[in-house]
Amino acid sequence: IFGRYMPGNSLVHNLNPAMKILISFYFIVIVFFANNYLTYALLFFLCFISLYLSKIPFGFFLKGIRPLILLIIITVLLQLFFSAGGHIYFSFWIFKITSLGLISAAYIFMRFMLIITISTLLTLTTSPLAISYGIEKILSPLKKIHCPVDTIALMISIALRFVPTLTDEATSIMNAQRSRGVDFGNGNLIKRIKSLIPLLVPLFVSAFKHADELSVAMEARGYSPEMKRTKFKSYLIGMNDYISMMLFFVISLMIIFFRN
């Protein structure tokens, strides 16, 4: 499975992808403005509402953030030990746990959880295809300065279309080389880099062969990069999009107001 999209039919799933990406961006930026418990609480409130509305099972969501747990722990520990100041609770060799350290560890933990929650939620509720559509829409004002947005959109969709194909191919090339005695992921640095050559060379060769033939097929189907094309895919911007946008905007104003 490519990406971690979880198909569904919730309000969050059905938001316009461009809008969803913009809102996520906006959210990540306002996270950095939060600096006291109230402002963090507001942001968590927003996250929980979104999560609830997405109808994603909480367990599944937790599984989704599992790969990031190590990162969170390390960060929290870093904070705990390195931002000194205030009352000292515990001290061992160069490590000290201080009141200030505890507070900043708590803040950083919350900041991480927020960014991760919103990124994960976006991933779980938006298919790769919808993400590419969203990026295309966000870039579309650039058409005015003659930026080839449609062409870029096609590049992205070709990329997404071939990720599963190339993944399968990479697996089968690896298997073929394994049965010829290659040990992937073993040995020292040089040995590891070397063991990638029998994987990467065939992978590139195959990818470019796909590319050569696909470009002929696309030309045969009447495509040319400069032409005008109509669009099959379309996502409407509905009432829900406006409401969510407003909600995020209002909360961000509150954060500006309540921060220290």
């Binding site: 989704g64 938006t126 062409t151 992205i156 990479a170 640095l189 590891r192 990638l196 050569d212 990069p225």
Partner: protein, 166 residues
């Protein structure tokens, strides 16, 4: 100016960057990310503007698809890296060693060391002094490996035939 083939090639290279990032080499001390090879290839074949745009878009797209934590600062770094590779390597047939070295040093100093450290200090809320030494040491180890790989790609006749079809 772009042919149909170029559109498909860039799309395919983006897909490749996603795939090969799964084969990053992680040892106890350092990790080598392979996707920079793709940025080099795009920069060499299509120049700084395409290099920068595709690097930025790939960063956003794949971070979201993978469900990693998104942070806009790293998109800025990716864009700059793509731009620099394009600026120095675009249609650089001779691929002079000095060009590659200067290019990689600029990337290491401005992007990897200054910018990325800045993003990390902002993101993790830690003073830069605590991580800068470790980061510099890591850069000093990976830089020669990256230079060697770029040099190999741009200078090996066989690899060039396979990787650059335009």
């Amino acid at each position: 100016k772009l042919q149909v083939r170029d559109v498909v090639y860039i799309g395919m290279l983006m897909a490749l960057s996603f795939i090969i990032s799964k084969f990053n080499i992680n040892t106890q001390f350092i990790s080598i990310r392979l996707a920079f090879i793709i940025t080099v290839i795009i920069g060499y074949s299509y120049g700084p503007i395409w290099g920068a745009s595709i690097a930025g878009i790939s960063d956003i797209l794949f971070t979201f698809i993978n469900g990693q934590m998104y942070y806009p600062g790293f998109t800025v770094s990716a864009v700059l890296t793509g731009f620099l590779y394009g600026l120095f390597l675009y249609k650089n047939k001779e691929a002079k060693f000095s060009h590659i070295v200067v290019c990689q040093i600029l990337i290491v100093v401005f992007v990897n060391t200054i910018l990325n450290t800045l993003w990390l200090t902002l993101l993790y809320n830690i003073p830069w002094q605590t991580i800068i030494t470790a980061r510099i040491i890591k850069q000093l180890i990976t830089m020669p490996i990256q230079i060697a790989i770029i040099f190999l790609i741009l200078r090996s006749k066989n690899l060039k035939k396979l990787l650059f079809r335009m």
